[in-house]
Symmetry: C2
Subunit: 246 residues, 2 copies
C-alpha cells in the first residue's frame, strides 16, 4: 500500500489516496484516529462509474462517517476508471446499453455476464485492501461494508469473516446465482431500496431481501429515485453501523 | 373530557385517565408540557385487544415519546375493553377465529366485516378526542398518528387535516376498499412491517405501501415476528415524528 497524496479537510478528516499494486483507492480517517485510539472501518462500495466520477458522493459519505468516528476506504473496480477493461465486460456493457435503448428487458445472460466476473475479480481485491488497511495502526476493527454493487457486498459478507455488518444498496442488477449466496449471509444487514427507482427491479430486490439468511435484517424503502436517497436514510444507515461496529 | 385519575411517573411523565362520553382514554404528557410551552401530540393507535391488555406496551411507547418531548393519547376502540359489543363485529370475529382454526384463508368478506365498521365508528371518535385534547392548554400541535389499526390510520390521514404525519404498523387485515383510500393519503408516512409476521399478508402490506399517494413515504421492514419490533425500529419511528412534528 503506497500513499500517493493527502489532504486534511477543515473538519479534521484526513484523506489519503493510495495505490495497492495497480489498484487505486482512497482512505479517509477522522481526526480522532490514532495509534492509541484506532477506529472501526467501513468499506465504501460504489457503482461501476469510476472513482473519479463517484468522488463527490464518496467524500460526502466518508465525512459523514468520520463524524460518527469511522474510517472509510474505497478502491477502484476492475475495468472502471483508468483500470484496464476486459473484452467480455465491455461486451456485456454494450449488450446492456442496447437492451435499454430498444426497451427490451435485460436478460439473465446479460446480468450474469456483467456482474459475475466483476464479483470474481473485485472481491479478492477488497480483501487485499482490507489486509493493508487493517495493518495501519490507526485503523482497528470491526469492519463494515456499505453500498453497492450489492453482489460484491453479498459475496464479501459470505467469504470475509472480518466484515461483521453490511449496509447494502439494492440498486443494481443481481445474477440469479447470488440469491443462493444470499441465503448464506448471516451478519446483520441494513438494505436500502429506492422504491421508485425505475432502472431497478423492485420485486427482485424484495426477493433478495427475503433470501438473506441473517437473523437481523432491515429493509428501508424510500422515495426519491435511484440517486435521491433522502438524508434521513443516510442517517439511519449510520445508526446501523454505530450499533454494530462500536 | 373528564379526567378520572392521574399519576406521575419518576421520569416526570403525567398519566391521566379520562372519559369522553362513554369512551375511556389515557393521556400522557411530558414534565416539560405547560401553558407557556405546549407540546406536539401523537395519537397512539393499537390493536383491538382492549386498552387494559395493551396498557404495558402503550405506556412504554408513551414514556419513550415523552422523552422526545411529545404528549401522547389513546382511546378505547368501539367494541373493545368494557365498551359494548355489536353483533356484526362479534360475528366477524367468530368467523375469523373459525377460518384460522381450520387453516382456511381469511376471506375478503370477513376482513371487510371486521374492519370497515370499526373504521366507520372509530375515526369520528378519534376526531372528537382530538378536539378535546387540543383544547388543553398544555397540548399544542402538530399532531401525528402512530400504530395500528392501519385502516384507522389511513382514514384519519385522509379526513383529518390536523394530522400531519403518520407512523403506521402494517400488521392487520386491510379491506380492499382501503387501497383506494391509501392513494388519497398525501402526508409523510413511516410504515413498519414485520417481515416474518406469519399472521400478516406481506404482499398486501407491500401493495398498500405502493398505493400510498404520499411523496415522502418510508417502509421499514424488520425481523422478529408480529410483536417483536426491534428497539431500533422504535427509535427510527421516533426520529420520523421528531422530523415532522417539531
Amino acid at each position: 500500500m503506497h500513499f500517493t497524496s493527502q489532504q486534511r479537510f477543515d473538519d479534521g478528516v484526513l484523506e489519503r489516496e493510495f495505490t495497492l499494486g495497480e489498484i487505486p483507492g482512497i482512505l479517509w480517517t477522522p481526526a480522532s484516529a490514532s495509534v492509541t485510539a484506532p477506529v472501526p472501518l467501513i468499506l465504501l462500495g460504489h457503482p461501476t462509474l469510476g472513482l473519479r466520477k463517484m468522488y463527490p458522493r464518496l467524500v460526502a459519505r466518508a465525512r459523514h462517517s468520520a463524524a460518527e468516528g469511522f474510517a472509510t476506504a474505497t478502491i477502484e473496480h476492475p475495468g472502471s476508471g483508468d483500470r484496464p477493461r476486459w473484452p467480455a465486460a465491455e461486451q456485456a456493457r454494450a449488450d446492456l446499453r442496447r437492451a435499454r435503448e430498444t426497451g427490451e428487458p435485460v436478460s439473465h445472460e446479460i446480468v450474469d455476464a456483467l456482474i459475475l466476473p466483476l464479483v470474481e475479480r473485485a472481491v479478492p481485491e477488497w480483501q487485499t485492501a482490507l489486509d493493508a488497511l487493517l495493518s495501519l495502526p490507526e485503523i482497528g476493527g470491526p469492519v463494515g461494508y456499505s453500498g453497492g454493487v450489492i453482489s460484491i457486498g453479498i459475496r464479501l459478507a459470505v467469504v470475509e469473516p472480518r466484515i461483521v455488518a453490511a449496509g447494502l444498496f439494492a440498486g443494481s442488477f443481481v445474477p440469479r446465482a447470488m440469491f443462493e449466496e444470499a441465503r448464506q449471509v448471516t451478519i446483520p444487514l441494513h438494505v436500502l431500496l429506492q422504491w421508485d427507482d425505475e432502472g431497478n427491479d423492485r420485486q427482485a430486490a424484495l426477493d433478495l431481501f427475503d433470501a438473506f439468511g441473517s437473523k437481523e435484517k432491515s429493509l428501508h424503502a424510500n422515495m426519491g429515485g435511484h440517486t435521491g436517497v433522502p438524508q434521513f436514510a443516510g442517517d439511519a444507515a449510520a445508526q446501523f453501523f454505530t450499533r454494530h461496529l462500536k
